[in-house]
């Protein structure tokens, strides 16, 4: 009797362990399938026109997404300008001057902000920056993205600042440096690798966001000068073209998807490789 039971347990062992391997394999294959599909469909649709031309009128084939590519870069630049300094400084505060209830509340609020769905962020930016001034703008879109950049940057900054070994701080203090000097000239540089990669990861994350842009940056058929006009962006174009019936638009949506994914994955790959080589912590 116990032999059968033993056989059963061994059998179960093999089956379940194999299943876990299958699961891992399945998940990894999905990734490769996604990449493969995008590269295949996007690759054959990419051409020089895509990067240099403006969109053509509805129903006509050809044209490109030059304005959307530049638009996305512009929005990212705005998001960086708005979100990175706030994130960096707040991270410094939490790591170096923290310890009170205020910093506990701040940390909790940052986590809260991180969890806000991106569409709600869009509503927020709309009521704050579109409604009062009565126009859609790159600024509104950039701000929505910028606010989303803050929590990730704060986390990364705090984590890497804390990871700087204590003896560096003590050494600096022993040499007579004041606190801010220590932070500025010793600790921040030491943590800079991790912090910068955290910043790049946060930018890569918002580069692909569509929902917050739908009613802030809106979209634009032409180039968007300055900060106060609606602006085209890759994710919004992908969405608009994908749900339309025109085959040529589908083709362009794949191409745009490939470009966007390439941007995001390269940034992620680069950052994580750098982090791993430095042996530092993962940033989420």
């Amino acid at each position: 009797m116990s032999d059968i039971r033993l056989l059963w347990r061994k059998f179960l062992n093999v089956v379940m362990l194999t299943l876990t391997g299958v699961a891992a394999f399945a998940v990894v294959s999905v990734l490769f399938l996604i990449l493969g599909y995008l590269i295949w469909n996007g690759g054959k649709s990419l051409n020089w026109d895509f990067f240099t031309q403006l969109p053509k009128p509805v129903g006509e084939t050809g044209g490109g997404m030059a304005n959307a590519i530049v638009g996305s870069l512009k929005l990212l630049a705005l998001a960086a300008l708005i979100g990175l300094p706030v994130g960096l400084m707040s991270g410094v505060y939490l790591a170096e001057f923290g310890g009170s209830t205020f910093s506990f509340v701040t940390r909790y609020t940052t986590d809260l902000l991180n969890g806000v769905p991106s569409i709600v962020m869009g509503i927020f930016a709309y009521s704050l920056l579109v409604l009062p001034v009565k126009h859609f703008s790159a600024l509104a879109g950039g701000t929505a993205l910028g606010v989303m950049v803050i929590p990730i940057t704060v986390r990364a900054t705090e984590e890497f600042l804390r990871a700087v070994p204590g003896n560096m701080r003590e050494g600096a203090m022993a040499l007579g440096a004041s606190k801010w000097r220590t932070i500025a000239t010793v600790i921040l540089p030491a943590a800079s690798g991790g912090i910068i990669t955290g910043m790049l990861l946060s930018l890569a994350r918002v580069a692909g966001e569509t929902a917050p842009l739908l009613f802030t940056a809106f979209s634009n058929r032409y180039w968007s000068p300055g900060l106060n006009q609606p602006i085209a962006s890759l994710p919004v174009m992908i969405y608009t073209y994908a749900i339309a019936p025109y085959d040529d638009w589908h083709r362009q949506a794949w191409a745009a998807g490939l470009v966007l994914l390439a941007l995001v994955l390269i940034a992620n790959l680069g950052c994580r490789l750098v982090l791993n080589r430095r042996g530092a912590y993962r940033s989420v």
Partner: protein
């Protein structure tokens, strides 16, 4: 001590708190403290502003419908009768479907990576899975429309119908879009989070636990399933909550594959609607202030749902780290 403020003091500064205020000011520490404090306070300001805006702009709708908003099933712009029930239902159902697929899959993969795979392989695969987490939502939507929806319509749907068609959740016509498709797309999106966090948590389980189980004659699987995983269970639960929070807030991928129909139906093949999707579709054209206000109230509901979930997730993850995951 009457030292000039411009000379550099080579002696070690006195312990903090004992320096005079002027000294700290000129040293720049107070300034630095204040400056960084202001930035940190900005975060609080922004978040409060967010909640305030959501609250104020949904006022019309809250005043008119009250708590009934949460279970009214109609969404009627013509007769100005709005209710959140179909959207809450859709949000919860798609999230449930996605977890039903992602949790077993993710946990199994995490177990493989933490327990069975050699460290190098485990690290590389975990790295690749982290990349999967970085793929933008709209790209999942793109794949959803052109790959998964046709697949559902031509292959998976008929297969499910022929084998499990007697179940109420698989009755009714199969359009290709609907709750099930949205759930599947969401599952692909959240599985990396489950794997990533669960793997980390499983790796922290002390070796003695495993070895003790194996020493008592357990098979590898039994040691894993009956000792290691329960040890890490609060952390794993935390990862599930995180995945759930992500699934609830997902907008683009869902709106591209769910069918955009505010109905409550038992069948998973039926088209539906989620809170995020309806806001994305109808926000720019909500003619009428009550309509707009109702949409913003939906945003408030979603915000509260994710707020509560994220809070629970954090508590659970922290509890694992602190208490060592002792199964109680």
């Amino acid at each position: 001590m009457a030292t000039s403020a411009t000379t550099i003091d080579c002696a070690a500064p006195p312990p903090a708190g004992q320096r005079s205020f002027i000294r700290r000011l000129t040293d720049g520490d107070e300034v630095a403290h204040l400056l960084t404090l202001i930035f940190a306070a900005t975060i609080l300001l922004l978040t409060s502003l967010l909640v305030y805006e959501l609250w104020i702009n949904s006022k019309l709708s809250r005043m008119k419908f009250g708590w009934d908003f949460l279970w009214t099933r109609s969404w009627d712009p013509v007769f100005d009768n709005f209710g959140a029930a179909p959207f809450i239902y859709g949000t919860l159902v798609t999230a449930a479907v996605s977890l039903a697929i992602a949790v077993p899959l993710g946990l199994a993969a995490a177990i493989f990576l933490a327990e069975l795979a050699p460290r190098r392989l485990s690290d590389s695969i975990a790295f690749l899975i982290d990349l999967l987490a970085a793929v933008p939502s709209v790209i999942y939507g793109l794949l959803g429309i052109f790959v998964i929806v046709p697949l559902m319509r031509t292959t998976v749907g008929p297969l499910l119908k022929s084998t499990l068609g007697f179940l109420p959740i698989f009755k009714g016509p199969n359009y290709g879009v609907g709750f099930l498709t949205a759930g599947i797309v969401l599952a692909i999106m959240v599985v990396p989070f489950i794997i990533s966090v669960s793997r980390e948590v499983l790796l922290t389980v002390p070796r003695e636990q495993r070895e003790a189980a194996l020493g008592l004659g357990a098979t590898r699987w039994e040691a894993t399933w009956q000792v290691v995983v329960p040890w890490a269970r609060t952390g794993v639960m935390g990862s599930i909550f995180l995945a759930l929070a992500r699934a609830l807030g997902e907008t683009m991928a869902v709106t591209m594959v769910i069918g955009n129909d505010p109905k409550i139906a038992a069948s998973l093949f039926s088209p539906g609607y989620t809170i995020a999707a309806v806001i994305a579709n109808e926000f720019t054209e909500a003619t009428g202030n009550l309509y707009m206000s109702a949409l913003i109230e939906l945003g408030l509901v979603l915000f509260l749902m994710t707020f509560i979930l994220n809070g629970l997730a954090r508590i659970l993850i922290v509890a694992t780290e602190r208490g060592g995951g002792r199964p109680s």
